[in-house]
């Protein structure tokens, strides 16, 4: 004889707390639909534009005559346009969408006044468009990561303030008594970014600080925008989607706490390692190096936490697109962060700094970690916004393999090329010993440039592969938005059918 509560719940499907939660989630998802959709569509658009700029600048590295007659497409402008399009266009748009979708869900609070959020998102995209147009027109400020001309940046800051305030308001209206680890990261990032951006804009562009302080502020910003904005958003997404797709809890709350606070304490110091060997007081450099090493703590702790959550469920990688992208990103986060710490070693920085090695490292972090995590998140979020399924599993598969192989090739190729370049530039004796270069010591500068050309060509091939992945993604995205709602198809779009639905709920 069943007990009374069980009997009641078996008669009415909506009485269990789980069903109430699900009904609530559908309301929350619906409230985020239009702003999230606008941000994600803009993100995909910028991804394609940024990829195009990337390809042009990559070709120019080994074929300088390519599009050489167009002032607007000279290397200095088009590479900068690439960086800004993928950073402020693709990455920030995607992270806005993912951040407040997660925030609304985890706070169990519907998004209020979604219309105003769309206005903010429109402003952001106008700002980015004006900024990139300005860069191509030759108005770049020539400060790395802050190249957008002054007539674009206040608009960006305003739009950001609106979006950030919205996520905080959503958090404040939240009903959840427990603050989940993803929320810590998102909330912290929402406060960190405006602090970084406004201080950097004021101290470098609007009321410039003098001398080396300016360089310090520049690298403090450029490194922190990765570590205190993109990294927390990426980690928040991993912390949500990993247990969500697998249907099991995150391994350890205690590890989450240590991972979060050690990142918060140490990352802020690490940017100075870009100035090792420069005319910066040595104690500042040493503090930056020590902090870069302390970053091993949050990275290892987070890696253990994610790995132990994953253990026993690796089979799910065969089926779930979200999980596959997220796990690729999580592993990349660990590896690229450890590489980053090693790059702070003085003697190693002497070789790798100012070479293609740094470029490889930046792409490992921003692409193999952050962008892959965003792809995974978008594969999960979109069906819940549109109540439609992804049209083609094949295109998702193309997207994954093209980008995963492409970025791996890219990073491996440029890392090797960068080390060779660094050895030839700095320690030719060592380069001779390794058989990298015959002849004179020091190596003529032009020879060091020529030595990198094969690697630059392979970088372009890897870039073409990544572009194929992006096109597959964009086609799937547009197709999904454009197709009519199919209420008959309720199965998720997976790489292949799992033996039991238990394994993966995409």
């Amino acid at each position: 004889m069943a007990s009374v509560p069980t009997l009641v719940s078996s008669l009415n499907p909506a009485t269990t707390s789980d069903d109430v939660k699900r009904a609530e989630l559908s309301e929350i998802d619906a409230s985020t639909k239009w702003p999230a959709l606008f941000l994600l569509a803009s993100a995909v658009g910028w991804l394609l534009i940024g990829t195009l700029f990337a390809l042009i600048s990559s070709f120019k590295m080994h074929s300088p005559d390519f599009l050489g007659n167009y002032e607007w497409l000279t290397f200095g402008r088009v590479r900068t346009a690439h960086l800004n399009a993928v950073t402020y266009g693709w990455s920030v748009n995607a992270s806005f969408a993912v951040a407040f979708w997660l925030m609304a869900r985890l706070s169990r609070s519907v998004l209020r006044h979604a219309g105003l959020l769309i206005v903010a998102a429109v402003f952001w995209n106008i700002g980015v468009t004006v900024g990139i147009f300005g860069i191509l027109a030759g108005d770049s400020t020539s400060i790395e990561w802050l190249e957008m001309p002054v007539y674009a940046t206040p608009l960006l800051f305003l739009a950001y303030a609106l979006v950030g305030a919205w996520a905080v308001i959503t958090f404040r209206f939240g009903k959840s008594p427990h603050i989940y680890v993803s929320q810590w990261y998102i909330l912290a990032a929402l406060f960190w970014f405006p602090w970084l951006y406004s201080v950097a804009e004021i101290m470098i562009i609007f009321a410039p600080a003098g001398g080396t302080v300016q360089a310090l502020v520049n690298w403090w910003f450029a490194h922190n925008v990765l570590g205190l904005w993109f990294t927390p958003i990426g980690l928040a997404a991993i912390y949500y989607f990993l247990p969500k797709v697998l249907g099991k809890p995150i391994h350890s709350y205690y590890l989450s706490v240590i991972g979060f606070w050690s990142l918060a304490i140490f990352y802020n110091w690490a940017g100075v390692h870009h100035l090792i060997g420069g005319p910066v007081p040595v104690w500042v450099q040493s503090a930056g190096i020590a902090a870069s090493f302390m970053m091993i703590i949050p990275v290892i702790v987070t890696a253990i936490n994610h790995h132990m959550t994953m253990v026993g469920s690796f089979g799910a990688l065969k089926y779930s697109p979200t999980l596959r992208f997220i796990v690729f990103g999580a592993v990349s986060y660990t590896l690229t962060s450890l590489q980053g710490s090693s790059m702070a070693i003085r003697s190693w920085a002497e070789v790798t700094h100012f070479t293609h090695y740094t470029v490889a490292h930046a792409h490992w972090g921003m692409y193999a970690f952050f962008t892959m995590v965003m792809f995974g998140s978008i594969y999960y979020i979109m069906p819940r916004l549109l109540l439609k399924e992804w049209p083609s599993a094949k295109l998702i598969s193309v997207h994954f393999w093209a980008t995963a192989v492409g970025i791996t090739l890219y990073v491996a190729d440029l890392s090797i090329g960068g080390v060779i370049q660094g050895l030839l530039l700095n320690t030719p004796v060592l380069a001779h010993k390794f058989g990298l270069q015959q002849g004179t010591d020091p190596v003529p500068f032009l020879d060091t440039v020529k030595a990198t050309i094969p690697y630059l060509k392979w970088r372009s091939y890897a870039g073409i592969l990544i572009t194929i992945g992006h096109v597959a993604f964009a086609v799937n995205f547009v197709w999904m938005v454009a197709r009519s709602v199919q209420t008959t198809k309720t199965e998720p779009t997976l790489f292949r059918s799992p033996p039991e639905m238990e394994v993966t709920a995409q």
């Binding site: 909506a14 707390s17 989630l25 989940y180 995150i250 040493s286 703590i297």
Partner: protein, 220 residues
């Protein structure tokens, strides 16, 4: 951690229960796993040891390569004790320094040191330049106004003050460099005036207005 019971929201409950089409559309939501939760596996002791070792090691590194917390030290191999023992104070050539500073003076006295007839007196062979140190340094400190006789010719101009109260406010060193330069350039062969000498004159001189030739001649 146990799942806390959540008070059902009557509005949502109704909506979810009554509308069948919504139920159908929500298939995506119904199939997804519950919202993520945290496990509470304790931290492995080995990790605690690792974190402690990292803090210890990085602190040692920072203390070792702190460079005396000096804003002027850029090299991590800097060691204050050996630096003090081996560093030689670089000898400054007052004439070379003075030549650089003289660009300011050359506006009136000209690069040739010949001045402009009737207005700016020459420095070449001038008794005011190669003569009394006391007079020359005072002219530099406070300036000189009004008629002046140099090598028998009359001049009438205004020289600004390079000491306190003037727009330049040069240090003792700078003044010593430039006066040494003009005393040893263009065939002038007078002795060096040290920064110490300039300091000495500056200290016993409380005047803040330009000198006249007569006032200077009254000194010593």
């Amino acid at each position: 951690m146990s799942d806390e019971p959540i008070k059902p929201n009557p509005q949502i409950e109704q909506a979810a229960a009554s509308d069948e089409s919504i139920q159908k559309v929500h298939a995506i939501l119904l199939r997804e796993k519950p919202e993520p939760k945290e496990g509470y596996t304790p931290m492995p002791l080995l990790l605690l040891g690792f974190i402690t070792a990292m803090i210890f090691g990085c602190t040692l590194y920072f203390v070792h390569y702190r460079g005396g917390f000096s804003p002027l030290v850029y090299d991590e191999r800097y060691d204050p004790s050996t630096a003090a023992a081996t560093t030689q104070v670089e000898k400054v050539d007052p004439v070379a320094q003075g030549k650089r500073l003289f660009q300011t003076c050359a506006a009136c006295h000209q690069a040739t040191g010949m001045g402009v007839p009737g207005m700016y007196p020459p420095l070449v062979g001038s008794e005011w330049v190669v003569g009394s140190e006391e007079h020359l340094v005072r002219i530099m400190l406070n300036g000189l106004a009004g008629p002046l006789k140099v090598e028998g010719k009359d001049y009438n101009g205004n020289m600004p003050a390079f000491g306190p109260g003037g727009g330049y406010n040069w240090s003792d060193e700078k003044i010593s460099y430039v006066v040494t330069y003009i005393r040893q350039e263009w065939g002038n062969k007078a002795g060096e005036i040290t920064a110490g000498k300039v300091k000495e004159i500056r200290e016993k001189n409380t005047r803040m207005t330009p000198w006249s030739a007569a006032e200077l001649e009254a000194i010593k």
